[in-house]
Amino acid sequence: MPLIKKQKIPLLVDKMLKKFDVIGPVPKDEKYVFSKVSRGEEVFLGYDTSILPPKKIFFPQEETLITFKKDEQLEFKPALEDGTPSKTDGDRKFVIFGVHACDIHAILTLDKQFMEVYPDPYYISKRARSLIIGVSCREPKETCFCGIMGTYTVEKGFDLFLEQIDEDEFYVIVGSDEGRKLLSAYPDFFEASTEETLEKLRKVLKEKDEKFADSVSITGLPTLLEQEFDSVNGEIWEELGEKCLGCGTCCLVCPTCFCFNVVDKVELSGKEGLTKRVWDSCLLADFAVIAGGFNFRPTQTSRIRYRIYHKLKYELERGGILGCVGCGRCNIACPAGIKMQDVIKKIKGE
């Protein structure tokens, strides 16, 4: 396995920019966002977390699905020409450079949701053009709980993963054929690892377990939730329902939340328009309302309970994959101060 020196990374990105679009974490108002870069030095791999996860690249906040003509001219067209969605960025592949392990886990969850059963052409068209280069986290942020979810390391879902082994060196893990091709396309930037680097890697990974792992784990959580739905510690849900403002911000910043609403917009001419999807949240009061006004989750308690069950139980039951990756963005965003790890600990009675 190869190695890359820290100072070579911006140069590598510069070189990649000739062939790919590159999206990476860049500073913004003392926080970080994933943004298209034009120079390698813009990518800041020492970021803690980004405001929005890379989800927004594959599943944007608003996305046109269909364009239509109304009335007698009635016609529907996919918002792209060949039956796939519009390619606003052209056919160029893009590299997402610097994705943390938790966010890679989240992309795997989204892949499951959007690429199976009825494959979603809009998601796939963007996902198929993406290369993912992961980067390790060195310290958990106080809001992070990847230690509980077991997501501070990742084994798949990336093309390359850069594991930092000391101040100026990254060990490069290859995760796909595409990743291997990257290595051979840019041989000048990588060097071979030695027995010494492998030793460093082992040490770093061991230290990581000590730094990140939590005494609480999610083992047994689904079974506990099975019992907690109605009673026993039913007050957990009442308390949360009292606290939750129902603003839905946690869903907007969540790397695995995939719910959306579908709306039509008509052009001023009144003759044509478009159908688009926009991010939605199960915490909003009308999310589960049916025609006629009946609401299947009429209280904030029932809504937040549903969200937590979806994250910690239902998604596992559906796809065998985590609905929460412990990135902690919901903790940062929640105006009511609800913390997912506190909820987990409470359910586990710790």
Binding site: K70, E72, L74, F76, P78, V262, A291, Y314
Partner: protein
Amino acid sequence: MKTLVVNPYLPIPARCTKIVSQTELEKLFRFEFLGKTIQENFDYLPGQFLELSIPGFGEAPFSITSTPTKKEYFEFCVRKVGTVTGALHDLKEGKKVGIRGPFGNGFPLNDLKGRDIIVIAGGLGLVPLRSLINYILDKRDKFGALKILYGTKQPKELLFRDELKAWEERKDVELLITVDAVPEGQEWSGNVGVVTTLIPKVEMHKDYTAVICGPPIMYKFVLRKLDGKLREDLIFLSLERRMRCGIGKCGHCAIGPKYTCLDGPVFSYEEIKNLQGAI
């Protein structure tokens, strides 16, 4: 590289060929796809639903009320309650809409074939069940006894009156109708009481298969009344949720770990008995 992917979000234009008013609030809409081959190749199961799009107003899921044994058209029966249904009620014969689907599992025909069946419908619940009933009647020898219990709030809300009459006259169908109440000015000489009051009036053995559809509130009362009378794996319920996409993506129709649009809308009682938030 040009990837040709089927786009499950793309509606196909269909023309409204007939509108028949059913009650003050409900109309029956008949549609045909514009392309003859599309219509001829269009197939579905009783109990499945379609997404109907009126551009500019939006899209909504509707149960198909016609039977797939009639190949020339498909029908919806829709109550005017919101934006899309309002626009649909303003639609004139000859006008066009967009259609996606069919989606959902439909009624379990394999579990129904050869069996004695009891259909329990409350209000608009008759809409998807009409598809099943007419399917059974078109393939009568494939099914056993057919008993239908149907209740509405008041006499003027009864749907498909001509068909009710025809079913009533058939010797191979037992149809019982009830209304919750008879407000002044409406005529009614039949049963009065909620639909569950009809259950003790029909004879059933333990191997009857029940198919139930009605307003959300109805299920627990019907299930309570059927408790112990029938096998839980042979009681089927068609559930209503807000199916925005129809393809298991948008999250709106989730019931616990199930998606109504993919895993349902028809579930056996056994399947959802312990499902949080189902009934």
